[in-house]
Amino acid sequence: VTTDDLRDLVIEVLSGIAPETDPSSVDPTEDLRDELDLDSMDELNLITRVSERLGIDIPERDYRRMRTLDGAVDYLAGRLDPRLG
C-alpha cells in the first residue's frame, strides 16, 4: 500500500460521509472538520470506515492525528509500516 493509495482511500471514504463536498480539493494541511464541515459523528465514521478497510485498530487517543488529510495519510502509513511512523 502506497501513501497515494492511502490518500485515495481517505478521500473515497470522505466522499461517502460528505457527498455534497469534494474532498479531493481540500487543503491537505487544513483541518478536515473545517474544510468539509464535518462534525464529531462524521469524524468517527471516517475513522471506523478507514480502520475497517485497512484492518487496523485506531485508538481514540490517535483520532486527532487523523484531522488533516496529510496527517491521516502519515498516521496510517506509520501504522501499516511502523518504520514510517
Binding site: 464529531s40 459523528m41 481514540e60 487517543r61
Partner: protein, 220 residues
C-alpha cells in the same frame, strides 16, 4: 442591579434556529476579530453557524449574568476547542450546533457541556467504536423500534459529557458509561472500571427534545 452582587448559582441553556444567512442582529453581537474570522470562513453554512453560535452564546451568558457588560464579553476558544469567557473563571460555558439548530449553555454550578443532534440523524458510527460492553448489552435489550432514539440519546449524552472532561486528560467514548439515573429520564455517567474514564467521578446529564432535535446538557 448591583454589579458586585454575586448571583445565585444556576445553569441555563438556550437554543436558536440556524436558517440560511446570519441575520444582522446576530452579526451585531460579534466583536471585530470575530467578524473578521466569520468573513474568512469560506463554507457558507459553517459561517452561519459560527455567527449564530457566538451570538447565542453571548445572549445566554448575559441572561445568566445580566450584571456583565455585553460588549466586554471576551470569548476565547482553547486549543481543546472549549470556549471560555476571559476574566470569569467562575462561569462555565459550552456551545454546540448542528444542521438547523445552535444550542448554548452557561453555568456557575460547575463545568457544563452541551450537545445537539437532529432526531432524524441515522448515520451513527458502529457501536463497538463508542459504546461500552455494558451499553452494548443494554442495546440488545432495547425494543427494535426504540433502538435509533436510544442510540442517538446515548451519543449526545456522551458528547456533552466529553465537553466537561479535563482537556488535558481526554476521555474515550468507550470509557464513558451512560446509565439511567432513575430520576425521570436523566442519565448518570460513571467511569468504566479500569478505563480512562477513571478520572471522571460523576456527571449528570439531562436530555431534552426541541423541535425535532435532541439536546444533552451535562454538568460536573
Amino acid at each position: 442591579m448591583n454589579a458586585t452582587r454575586c448571583p445565585p448559582d444556576r445553569l441555563i441553556w438556550r437554543t436558536c434556529p440556524i436558517l440560511g444567512e446570519p441575520s444582522s442582529v446576530d452579526e451585531a453581537w460579534l466583536t471585530g476579530p470575530e467578524r473578521r474570522r466569520a468573513d474568512a470562513i469560506a463554507h457558507p453554512a459553517r459561517k452561519t453557524r459560527f455567527v449564530v453560535g457566538r451570538a447565542l452564546l453571548r445572549r445566554t451568558i448575559l441572561e445568566l449574568r445580566p450584571d456583565l457588560e455585553g460588549s466586554a464579553l471576551a470569548l476565547t476558544i482553547a486549543s481543546s476547542g472549549r470556549p471560555h469567557l476571559s476574566g470569569h473563571p467562575e462561569l462555565s460555558i459550552s456551545i454546540s450546533h448542528t444542521r438547523g439548530l445552535a444550542v448554548a449553555a452557561a453555568s456557575t454550578l460547575g463545568t457544563v457541556g452541551i450537545d445537539v443532534e437532529p432526531r432524524s440523524r441515522n448515520d451513527l458510527p458502529p457501536v463497538h467504536a463508542w459504546l461500552t460492553d455494558d451499553e452494548q448489552r443494554r442495546l440488545l435489550a432495547q425494543p427494535v423500534p426504540a433502538v435509533p432514539s436510544w442510540l442517538l440519546n446515548l451519543w449526545v449524552a456522551k458528547e456533552a459529557v466529553m465537553k466537561t472532561s479535563d482537556p488535558g486528560h481526554p476521555i474515550a467514548r468507550v470509557d464513558l458509561e451512560v446509565r439511567d439515573d432513575g430520576r425521570g429520564g436523566g442519565c448518570a455517567i460513571v467511569p468504566r472500571a479500569g478505563g480512562g474514564g477513571s478520572r471522571l467521578t460523576m456527571v449528570r446529564v439531562r436530555l431534552a427534545v426541541v423541535d425535532g432535535f435532541v439536546v444533552a446538557i451535562a454538568t460536573s
